[in-house]
């Protein structure tokens, strides 16, 4: 393991998720994610980097909603990476993240097809923000033009800032110094974020967990996101 290497990992405790969508809003604000109109969302053009998938279980009146926040799983063996003809989607060995370089993207959308989680979103139009939302664009994140793919980055701008600030002080980044926007916004503490290579981090301490599972694990994508789900627990019980 190189000195600067981190294995950024997210734990999502589904038993805590209320489906409130605060993470979605926080992500939009932090990452300058364009806001699609209602019509566009109905057409399947939602631009969200994180979405709350809602599944219904049972039949009325014995019906239960289940929520799964789904975002880029930062696969270690990512299907989106080899198919990109221009290396716009590539693997960062330093952060162990799947990175998207907007400037390299020509928009073949092969990565989007090959992503089994369908978390990669395409800029169908030039992004626009209604007044006054255009005043709050995050200067740390570039605004993407029409025709490029984008996706959740684990708030790489925050990771970089935290790591660089720690380096200036001559130390390694401490657990809890880097907090992605969704983690920060969640009122129910669903998310736990940290470096799995740091044995003292909270993610390292919580994993392995009896309740852990990965999304579509059978595909061999080796996601960096762990979902925790108890057997019969339901929201609201």
């Amino acid at each position: 393991m190189a000195e600067n290497e981190h294995k950024w990992t997210m734990i999502v405790d589904l038993d805590k998720c209320t489906g409130c969508q605060a993470c979605v809003i926080a992500c939009h604000a932090e990452n300058n994610v364009p806001i699609a109109s209602e019509n566009e969302v109905i057409r399947g053009r939602g631009q969200h980097w994180i979405r709350i998938e809602r599944y219904w279980e049972g039949s009325f009146p014995e019906i239960q909603a289940r929520f799964i926040p789904v975002f880029c799983q930062q696969c270690n063996n990512a299907p989106c990476e080899p198919v990109c003809p221009t290396y716009a989607s590539y693997h960062s060995d330093e952060e162990h993240l799947n990175v998207q370089v907007y400037n390299r993207c020509v928009g073949t959308r092969y990565c989007g097809n090959n992503c089994p989680y369908k978390v990669r979103v395409f800029n169908w139009y030039q992004p626009q923000w209604d007044e006054p939302l255009n005043q709050q664009l995050n200067p740390d994140v570039s605004v993407r033009e029409a025709g490029v793919m984008e996706k959740c980055t684990f708030c790489i701008q925050r990771i970089r800032r935290g790591v660089e600030a720690a380096h200036l002080e001559g130390r390694d980044v401490a657990d809890g110094e880097v907090v992605p926007a969704c983690v920060q916004a969640c009122p129910a503490n669903v998310f736990t974020f940290g470096d799995l290579y740091d044995p003292e981090s909270e993610v390292s301490k919580r994993l392995p967990d009896q309740r852990q599972a990965k999304l579509l694990e059978h595909l061999g994508t080796e996601p960096a996101v762990y979902y925790l789900k108890g057997g019969e627990s339901h929201v609201g019980e």
Binding site: E40, R43, G44, R45, G46, R51, E53, R54, Y55, I68, V70, P79, P82, V83, C84, P85, T86, Y87, R104, C105, V106, G107, T108, R109, Y110, G112, N113, N114, P116, Y117, K118, V121, F122, N123, W124, Y125, Q126, E145, A146, G147, V148, M149, L215, L216, L219
Partner: protein
Amino acid sequence: MLESKTSTGPYWEQPAPDDEELLHQVEHLRDEHLLLDPRPPAENNALMLATMRRTGPFFWLMVLGLGGFVAALFAVWITQMIYGLGITGLNRSVMWGPYIANLVYFIGIGHAGTFISAALRLMRMDFRRPIARAAETVTLFGLAMAALFPLIHVGRIWKIYYMFPIPNMRQLWPNWRSPLLWDATAITAYMLGSTLFMFAALIPDLAMARDHTTGWRHKLYGALSFGWRGTEAEWRRLEKLADILCYVIIPVMFSVHTIVSWDFAMAVQPGWHSTIFGPFFIIGALFSGVAAVIMCMIIIRKAMGLGYFIREEHFNAMGIFLMILSIAWTYFYFNEWIVTWYGNLPAEKAILNMLTGDLGPFFYLMLFANIIVPLGTLWSKRVRTSLPAMFVIAMFVQIGMYLERILIIPGFLSRPELPFNWVNYTPHWPEITITIATFAFLGFLYILWSRVAPIIPLWEVHEGQALQTTRRMGRAALPTRTEGHH
């Protein structure tokens, strides 16, 4: 006993047999087979050149109409560049739609030309002689249309050179792990190979046209025929070159559609991730390609008055070929789905449910058009030699094969692994306009080409006629064939 007479005249002036019954037999053979029905080459040349010069009001109306579609294609494309791909019906799950289906379809119809010319040439199947160039033209323009679609499809066409392996200031080579790069390489190789192959075979005919025209045509044909004089050495070199190119281009042809299928088979998308896609796509390509060639043959025969060259025997042969391909396609299709159905994986089951459910009308129409129509009709020689029937059957195959690609691409994509992302895709006006306009574009290029280049390879026909004749054996007249000097 074999009758052996040394005739002193040219091959098209064979003495008629004195026996009346034999004469009847020979005339019957001449009616049926182009290569046994020689006419003086000068007559054929004059006929071909006359059809190339003939541009009536109907021709110009067609040029104008089809040209209008071409203009529409570029207008829609430019609109799409300005406003973004949002004007199409594509969405987060269905990232690839009819544009990619068109790419596969047009590369597919580009497969028949090379197969008919190159493979049948190597197998010494003489029926290919008059139809080889009409088929190669389908290949050439089919590939040109296919090459448009990656460009129309991408989000930032102005950055497309990022995909080219050229030295650049970004110090970044394209990613050769991506099937899209393999695809671009294979298509480029195939395009260069088939253009070269077609051009080599055109040289003697262009030289013939050069010798019989004046004005701009004379200059054009003079430049393109590279000073062909028709010496023995030139013919030998041409035959050798054509044979070498045949051996080169057939493997390339097989590789092209295999690699196109890998664009899908290499992905983890359910329904795409199949090991049988390579041969399955090649058969599908040949199937739609042969049907496209049949339609072009019927149109040029009718529109250009080429009934002497393109005869019932050719439709008969192509009809048998189409039927064999229909059987092969059926085999692959059922193999693919029987295994999937028996495997019963949830993600693939969702696709099967969609095919027999929401997309049922298209699915069953495809099976009807690709299996029931060809297999139910083409066994009959009367159908195979009837032009209207063949046109309708070929049209059904086109529809069926187009639907197959539509089902595989936007269809399968609309049922990804996580049910939350299931959508139903409907094309919007840009995809519909561009798709229709591309067929018109192909027709536009084809009819212009048919007035510039001899659409029948005359020298091949003349060569075939010189090598074939009828001989008397006992009381029967039989066709005989002399091996060339290959």
